[in-house]
Amino acid sequence: MEINFLIIITFLLSLIVWYIVTPLIEGTKEIPTQINQHELNRNKTVLLRQIKELEMDYHIGNVSEEDFNNTRNELKNEISTIITNIKNIS
């Protein structure tokens, strides 16, 4: 019983050490580019959604025309920057 238990514990420990240490031996130092790209795409989606919400607020009458144009331009500029960054990465 105790030997079985020791085997289980040793196996569990080895598995943990192997799982944690492997990337230190096999991995790369640099952050993979597609990982940054994914984050930028996520931000782009959120900004697009914000534009849609802004348009709705404008049509309901919750936002003045001046405010609508300014905010929409700000959001569009932000998206343009993100798209440029995505292009640069790829």
């Binding site: 309901i60 009458g61 003045s64």
Partner: protein, 654 residues
Amino acid sequence: MTPVLGSISLSLALGVAFISILLFSLFLKKSDYRFFIAGWRATVVVSALTILATLILLYELLLSNFDISYVAHYTSLETPTFYKITALWAGQSGSLLFWLFILSVYTLIVLYQYRNSYSKLMPWIIIVLVFVQIFFLILVNIVENPFMPTDADFVVINGNGLNPLLQNLTMAIHPPTLYLGYVGFTIPFAFAIAALVTKETGSVWIRSIRRWTLIAWLFQSGGIILGGWWAYQELGWGGYWAWDPVENASFMPWLTGTAFLHSIIIQEKKGLLKTWNMVLILVTFTLCIFGTFLTRSGVMSSVHAFAVSNLGPIFIVFIVIILVICIYLIISRLPYLKSEKRIESFTSRESGFLLNNVIFITICFAVFWGTIFPVLSEAVSGDKITVGAPFFNRVNIPIGLMLLFFTGVGPLLAWRRTSKDAFIRNFSIPIISGIAIFIVCLIFGIRNTTLISFPLTAFVFTAILIEFQRGINSRVTRFDESFLKALQTLIARNRSRYGGYIAHLGIVFMFIGFSGQAFDTELEFALKKGDSKIFDGYSFELVSIDPVERPNHIAWIAGINVWNLEKHLVTTLYPEKRVYFHLDPNPEKRQPHSELDIHTTIYKDIYSIFSGVDIEKQIAYLKIMINRLVYWVWFGGYVLIIGTMISLWPAKEY
């Protein structure tokens, strides 16, 4: 062997958690991505080991392994299987492990959600999550180990069994729901700390945590409602909220969390309130830890505190550490937290949101003060002065009504400023409906607080309907849709906003329910079998007193026919008087308990409590309460949950 494996898992998890912090520190110092991946994996291991330990404890509970002290304390051979599972969070060490289990599951979700993306915030987010895990791992490893062997020099044949008050379906679901809320706020907290450390205080972190905050808030709301429902049907005092310290402990982070949910909209849309948002989420998390401290430390006596321990000082140290870190970070990052714009007009939606925030915080402060006052008074004067429900009601009812008013005002205001025409157009119908209900209340002779609350609920209800109508009209005009199609698309395409309005409707319904308390009545009386008693428009006839023996208790069931004054049978109620562990040779271990029965309609509840029984004389001692409009509290709760779930539902990708 298995319990030892549980203990070892927890010890290993603590060790690996420190390794994880070390690996992330190396990554931040050397910018070597390999350390990030290794740290990420170490965090996965910490969470996996914690989950393994929790599953092992669950297995031992189901197996009734009384060699483990926790199992012997909170279960017995007679405990039904379902309650053996719920015993996992019934005691001190089990509930701490359960806290850690939920945090580990959340951590795994965050890790896998962002596995293909990287931002500057990520290492710090994980460090904060692991830091919180370390605190709870220290507790379950050193202070309250759930795998401690039973301290007895004989074989334990049977355990103590679960507290009868906890043997209730609602109580089985209530703690995990509340814990999912408490622990859930750790995620936005981690994002906030990461944003402060990396000086990335813009809207990126806000966008990332909106859904997480909503998830935590949903569970916190659900947990509070379930807690109220449990108190109402189990504790037998006829109410659902007693301003008990533990209830308050769950209510405070809910208040600040709700304020946060509203104010992040302002930051996202207008770049305002950056410092305020940081403070709110940091306070919310600290209050969550404070809530766990109140429930688990035994520092306050409460109907909800099922554990007494010496955990208090450790929790206080942890809270102080969190506060010091948060205050330092906020002060040092103030230049990065300056708002890009200013609030331009008092009649803007931004102002409405801010006022609403201030009210939430005022209520939170009042509740906090009332909750800690007994401890403070004891520390200062030596006398424990308890602040009861009258204090909380006197302070919070007027502020709560103001909050209700602003719930209606906010959506009617435009961003930046509301023109005079828009003001008149948007507010006239809600104000007229409020005045109409006020007059109706006067006609019906109502002269209590409901004279204000009913008109306010009418005002807010109409304001929300108008907001829906404006959205529908906009779609009908722009896209030539039918009314129903426009309603459907409106909600489907703007889930976050209209889900929020539905949640507001839930709050309105709940306020209707709260208002009903002003009309409640109650009577205690003894009734001989065959006799009846008339009370508040009903006749209560005792038709039977039957004994029943069940696996872990014996019960006397009173059969009460309830007739209305027109001699129609309304219902038959069956409240029970139970004695748990009745077979235990030690009479002190037998626990009496009243299981009540309620007849519910949308107007009123007939609430019956079987307080005592004289079998020889066939007399039942009963308490009957007629509670008005309670149904609306639970109905409002459902609507609130549904609204929040609509808000949470993933929106269409563009």
